[in-house]
Symmetry: D3
């Protein structure tokens, strides 16, 4: 299995509900350094897993929807704790939709799976790893 | 699959037996920077893989049993080479016992597997990765 | 010149005022991974720059005053943009006060200077570097 | 499953063919920091996954065949785009051949799989991960 | 003294002349991960060392002139060994010219000095550190 | 001012005397990842701060004298606490002697100063920074 990974970051405010979160129930924030790993069984005709330029743009676009925001006020996350692991999946879903819509190039339908990792500090990170649906034929 | 990772470290002395180890047969030591990755198929009711505070405490507690020690004198390791990969499994077993004993919280029985990685320098690391046993019902 | 460095982190929400900040004028947040470097011309009688345990505690204490907060509501920062470089100095001042008050041990009066670095992502950091005042004699 | 990882690097020139590569169609170059992860179900009699000294030598040897070269002129890669993911597999194949030839020691036949990761910058890497063939009996 | 640092990278081919360079006399290449540290004694009216957006753009612009090129064919470097330390200074000079030309904003004339660091692998880097000339008054 | 940095590591056992060290009074150990930064005002005739191959060899040689040893039994350190900062200076002195003896090449007499940094974990490091004596003329 081949993998390609691109990295970017975003910075948000949020708070959590539930005694388990202790002081993180207060409004605070985080920088998330994000790794997007895309996997494929065989290389495409250009010898790549994916067009790395398009993958970088897709990741930047998805993170731009979250960057410099207070996630407590995002309708998409209403009633949810935007924990690091929850956000990893939300970003995975949005990127999977980009792949399915052909935004990562015509060969990206051959992608097998993706892993999205959010590094929140030098001592903690979370990730979501799942298959990608094959793009529907045009 | 979701993952959460916490990081800590410990510092020990030890020596190895066997010609394959060359100068590492002499008494020397290491700093091990430890990553504990815990995995789970679905998030719990709080939207997390595990209570990260409890995971951090459990890792610190297990490493405290080894920290600032000469492993050549630890009864638990008598007759064994305490290589990086061996220690990764030993720490994995101790953490799995913590999970099974409920020390990572009541929902931690839903954890699927764990990976323990010991970074011994900027050019070498070892890991042990295995399923966690479901916690016995109370 | 000798240096010792300890690292910790904190997570906050804030917003900036001024067109130069673009989208960072919205409420957002950051993880700051903080390096505290303490310098000294000669080692003390124990052969150290500073008691690293006390330095770690002092850093944790200063960061705890900021951690999991919305800095826009902190009276100490009223009317100020809490930029990374501004926060580096604020933390430097608070740590210098700890040194002057003897919280880093009786020999810490011999410390020469300190550098506080705040890493805000994998591509940006800021720092403040300045002399420490000698502790007043008891 | 146990893993051991060793790291080294190499520096090459190359160019790519295909409009998808944009300015990387020009002759340029890269530093690749390479991680070789070797996996094994059970430790050998010495308590290791592999003789780490031999693994380090094998990696260095394979990278030495590529280091300080213009890959556009390497007969082994004629007509191919030497992308990061392509090189990860090429290095995997050469290391697998070393394992099969017994160069990683007599116990290395017990190795299960290997992952070769090439870090090309602080924001991008690629990898190839595949089983190793059991060494033929002597 | 305050510092702000931004990071980017570029990828080039080159070769060196002189027996001291051994196999690096052959055409090869490198990824350089570049840190630009800008220093200032006092913050400007916005509470920053420099407009970090403009600093990031200026660094990207200077690196774009070198990225994806064979430095052996660059007229600006004719007859010179484009070693890591030489390139650090070349980039420093080009960035200093950007500051002097007002491209980092109207307050950037207050910048004191800059350090340009080029990381060429996980085990080697080089830097050039020098004062910046005050911008001429408009 | 120009800098060049090379990195290597060593692994030792030791213990400390003095109540300030708490549990580190027991025999334990550490991995030290070592950065050697060499500085020079002007590049030499080859366009380098120092022959990086010779600098790498010199660092490896100095660390080999310490690697895989119990520092409590080293005559050179009798009666001293081999703290991270103490070791940084000891390594600085040994490397300065190598420079003075001409082991870093005939132009290394032009080196201005050196910084030796020992990273002992992901959260702590120490350094020693001092001028180098000009090499005596042959």
């Amino acid at each position: 299995m081949y993998s390609v990974n691109v990295r970017d970051h975003f910075m948000i405010a949020h708070s959590f509900r539930g005694a388990v979160f202790g002081p993180a129930q207060r409004l605070h924030g985080a920088t998330y350094v994000v790794d997007l790993e895309l996997r494929r069984r065989e290389l495409d005709a250009d010898g790549v897993v994916v067009d790395i330029g398009l993958a970088t743009e897709a990741l930047r676009g998805v993170l731009a929807e979250l960057n410099f925001r207070n996630l407590d006020e995002e309708p998409a996350f209403a009633g949810r704790n935007t924990t690091t692991e929850f956000l990893a999946r939300a970003i995975h879903q949005r990127l999977a939709a980009q792949v399915a819509a052909g935004r990562l190039g015509p060969h990206a339908g051959g992608l097998d799976s993706a892993r999205v990792t959010l590094h929140e500090s030098h001592v903690a990170w979370a990730a979501y790893d799942a298959p990608l649906q094959p793009a529907a034929p045009a």
